[in-house]
């Protein structure tokens, strides 16, 4: 039952904007947007206008860590491999095949022929070597890419189409990492350029689009790469991209992104707020959503604080939270966590049995460990109140429900919403009793990067059995075996109260009715190669 967009129907959005908070509660009435009509022939041409919410700051995907930058960088360069968002399998892209030996330490890639950078120079095994060495040299500036290459020992180029990458330790995550834009490739001129110049757009990549202009706080213009013919094996077509050009507009105000999409001044809004969802659906705007793979929104207790050093208390936290009861305040695209990994992560397994709600058991654990209820219902022991604070910047209303649930068993959770810079500073200080965040990565190795006692060690804990499991999971690519290690590690992290999973984050994007072939990749980011526009009527 498509609703035609007339001027009369467009007059309502402001009122709608003002009462959107009220409406969000009764969104059941809103009809789902119809699926994209049956397959029509893709058309070439057109300029795709995409709204992003913040300035991307740095366009170099090898350096960038924020989603907006990565979603731009993805269009400028290709990767050795691609990852199937459905299966999580790694498939060919610029590498036609690969071989992994010596216990996952040595990766040999055979490269595709006749690939060139947008400045005309050829893409060869030397390009892979130069790019990866440059990333290592960028160090902390390459915030994601440098972690993917940690422990890099040497890179050999026996011939122009073969590159052999050797690590000091077994490195199972590396294959998935080669599918990310963070390990995408750029021409020698880019590799030689200073980090700052690359951020500003001195970027000649192999990708289906070329950077034309970058104006801070305003826009990023891309144009089609002529002669492009090496899409990923997952691509739906061959040859050049359909779109003539892509324009990312920086629009910080969510109401303006909403209104501009409704009034067709925009084609895509990548920053849909949960409040806008029901209204967009009511306006027959197509919403696409995908759960972010990786670590779900969780609480991470810091065992270097006296309070959280107590294992029974951490376990009580897990027991006292009713994850199903969080649903009413979630976006329709988010869901309650069923493991410390989101369900879109490869090797995810449903561990909801380990995350059961049992407030009686939680209270019993607390009682046994000497936490007695005071007059105000909050427990205390030896004069210390069972109270702790979390600092966060995200839009996460469900955390208030968690606060009420914990209050019922006598735990006082203090919420402190602050600007991102202050939250980051407090977390970096390592003094907070509990951290709260999520982390997107389409590989289960995300567990090792965050929890490993010899690495980031988010819990500030002593080495334990789980570290062996995490290490083993990073050393094998044999699926069943790795599955076993990952699941065991996840179970232990939950059982010991090192992770208190809450909610799976989802990326929600709204597209105008003229946009076709807009898909998420395995990391819930997007690739515009297959995207096309119908003629505007």
């Amino acid at each position: 039952m498509p609703v035609t967009l007339t001027r009369a129907t467009l007059r309502r959005p402001l009122l709608a904007l003002l009462v959107s908070g009220l409406l969000a509660g009764c969104d059941q009435a809103a009809s789902e947007a119809p699926a994209v009509p049956a397959k029509a022939a893709a058309q070439k041409g057109g300029n795709l206008l995409i709204a992003i919410d913040t300035d991307p700051n740095c366009l170099d995907p090898q350096q960038a860590g924020n989603n907006n930058s990565l979603n731009i960088g993805r269009q400028l360069t290709d990767s050795l491999t691609d990852q199937d968002p459905q299966t999580g399998n790694i498939v060919p892209w610029l590498a036609t095949q690969w071989q992994i030996d010596e216990g996952n330490r040595r990766f040999t890639f055979t490269l595709r022929d006749n690939v060139t950078f947008s400045d005309g120079t050829p893409f060869t095994s030397q390009s892979v070597k130069d790019n990866f060495n440059a990333i290592v040299k960028l160090g902390a500036r390459a915030s994601l890419a440098s972690t993917y290459l940690k422990g890099l020992k040497q890179i050999d180029t026996p011939d122009a189409q073969t590159v052999v990458i050797t690590f000091q330790q077994p490195n199972a995550q590396f294959l998935q990492a080669t599918s990310t834009m963070s390990l995408g490739f750029f021409a020698p001129s880019t590799v030689a350029a200073p980090a700052e110049a690359r951020c500003q757009g001195s970027l000649a990549g192999t990708g289906p689009f070329v950077l034309k202009q970058f104006v801070h706080n305003q826009k990023v213009d891309l144009v089609r790469r002529n002669g492009y013919q090496w899409p990923s094996s997952l691509a739906k077509h061959q040859g050049e991209s359909y779109l003539d050009s892509v324009e990312y507009r920086v629009i910080p105000e969510s109401g303006v992104r909403f209104g501009s999409l409704i009034s067709r001044q925009l084609d895509v809004n990548v920053g849909v707020t949960p409040q806008d969802e029901a209204l967009l659906l009511a306006k027959n705007i197509h919403l696409i959503a995908r759960t972010n793979p990786g670590l779900v929104y969780s609480l991470f207790p810091n065992q270097s604080t006296p309070l959280m050093a107590e294992a029974p208390l951490r376990q009580a936290l897990n027991l006292a939270i009713d994850r199903q009861a969080l649903k009413p305040v979630l976006s329709r695209y988010q869901s309650a966590a069923t493991s410390v990994l989101a369900k879109t992560t490869p090797l995810y397994q449903d561990l909801s049995a380990d995350l059961g709600y049992n407030p009686q058991a939680a209270e019993k654990l607390l009682e046994e460990n000497g936490w007695r209820r005071g007059a105000d219902g909050i427990r205390s022991k030896n004069g210390q109140r069972l109270s702790f604070r979390i600092s966060y910047w995200q839009s996460a209303p469900f955390i208030e429900v968690v606060q009420q649930q914990l209050h019922q068993v006598g735990i006082d959770l203090q919420l402190e919403k602050a600007p991102i810079s202050q939250v980051v500073a407090r977390q970096a200080g390592g003094k907070l009793p509990v951290d709260f965040y999520n982390l997107t990565r389409s590989d289960p190795d995300v567990l090792r990067t965050v929890f490993d006692a010899g690495g980031r060690n988010v819990n500030h804990r002593q080495p334990a059995e789980v570290d062996r499991l995490l290490l083993q999971s990073s050393e094998t690519l044999e699926k069943a075996q790795r599955q076993d290690y990952v699941t065991q590690a996840a179970k232990q992290l939950i059982a010991e109260g090192n992770a208190i999973p809450l909610v799976e984050l989802a990326t929600v994007i709204a597209t105008g009715q003229n946009v076709r072939g807009f898909h998420f990749d395995a990391s819930s980011r997007f690739q515009l190669y297959d995207t096309w526009l119908t003629a505007k009527e």
Binding site: L14, D55, A64, A140, H216, Q218, V424
Partner: protein
């Protein structure tokens, strides 16, 4: 410099007024710049940590982070950082943005014209609307219409810029695609931001102007001129308005400051490039060199506008040109 500033009134008289004003201006700029530095330094985060944790958590090696901080001298004691930055400033080098790596000077040169254009357009509209309203009401006989018009400026000043901007967008862009909702392209994209920014400014100007006009109308020379047969319109244009404009001029430096501050919100709503947006992003990322650059630029605009108003005074009132002020 200290010697000059602390000089006795007698020796101060020897300094030409323009040089004195220039030194004061430099003092203002230095104070604004230094204050920004120390305020940002007191905040708990540093820009490198923020850059590496954009959006989600970073898993970067601690040693590498330390190396990057050292590159920006963030590992030095605060006074050393301050002196280094001051040394660069004396060489007219505003440094590089830590977050984007761009030259601060380039970023400001790119953003400033758009903001100045917006501010000047808004000032012109505000002068016409606010001044017109004040002049119009000043000649109206007392009554219901007059009191209604007199209440308008208070209403305009009370409207949040944010709200009026969204309302204008809804009326002129979302429901009827008459004007673009965003960007810096063409005069069309300037109309709604100008109106949004002009509303509170016009209200302030009208409030001051009304009071000033009422005061001039009451003066005895007006009565004398009226007795000589001068009409209301002639009196308003030739005698009342020029006299009433002097407090307005005094106010203009402040008004311009308001406009620059209002640009932060207006540019955010209308997704415009400009100094306000640059400042907003820089502050939230605690990009110290960039924030200092923006503050210095805004302070410079402020000082220059005050210079210009000082120069205009004597043109409006020749009495101010003679003798010491």
């Amino acid at each position: 410099m200290n010697h000059l500033l602390l000089a006795t009134p007698k020796s101060r008289r020897r300094l030409p007024a323009s040089l004195k004003r220039a030194l004061q201006g430099i003092g203002v700029l230095w104070a604004a710049w230094s204050l920004t530095f120390f305020i940002l330094y007191i905040l708990p985060a540093d820009p490198v940590t923020i850059m590496l944790n954009q959006g989600e958590q970073s898993t970067v090696d601690a040693a590498q982070v330390a190396a990057l901080k050292a590159q920006y001298h963030l590992d030095l004691p605060v006074w050393q950082q301050y002196l280094l930055a001051l040394w660069d400033l004396l060489h007219l080098n505003l440094g590089k943005s830590i977050i984007s790596g761009d030259n601060v000077t380039d970023l400001i040169i790119q953003a400033l014209p758009a903001t100045l254009l917006l501010a000047v357009c808004a000032l012109v509209v505000a002068l016409i609307v606010g001044g017109g309203l004040a002049a119009g009401t000043s000649v109206l006989p007392s009554g219901r219409i007059k009191s209604m018009l007199l209440a308008l400026p208070s209403l305009g000043a009370a409207l949040p810029t944010f709200w009026s901007g969204l309302l204008l967008l809804q009326l002129f862009s979302f429901s009827h695609a008459w004007l673009p909702a965003m960007g810096n392209r063409g005069w069309q994209s300037l109309v709604l931001p100008t109106l949004t920014l002009a509303i509170p400014t016009a209200a302030t100007l009208a409030q001051v102007m009304s009071r000033s006009l009422a005061e001039v109308w009451r003066r005895s020379f007006i009565d004398a001129l009226r007795l000589k047969g001068a009409g209301t319109a002639r009196l308003l244009w030739r005698h009342v308005l020029p006299n009433a404009a002097i407090p307005l001029l005094t106010l203009s430096g402040m008004v311009f400051g308001h406009l620059l501050a209002g640009a932060v919100i207006t540019e955010t709503i209308f997704s415009r490039e400009g100094l306000g947006r640059l400042a907003e992003g820089a502050v939230s990322a605690q990009d110290i060199p960039l924030v200092q650059g923006v503050v210095l630029t805004a302070a410079t605009v402020f000082v220059v506008v005050n210079f210009i108003t000082d120069a205009i005074y004597p043109l409006l009132d020749p009495r101010l040109a003679t003798g010491e002020r």
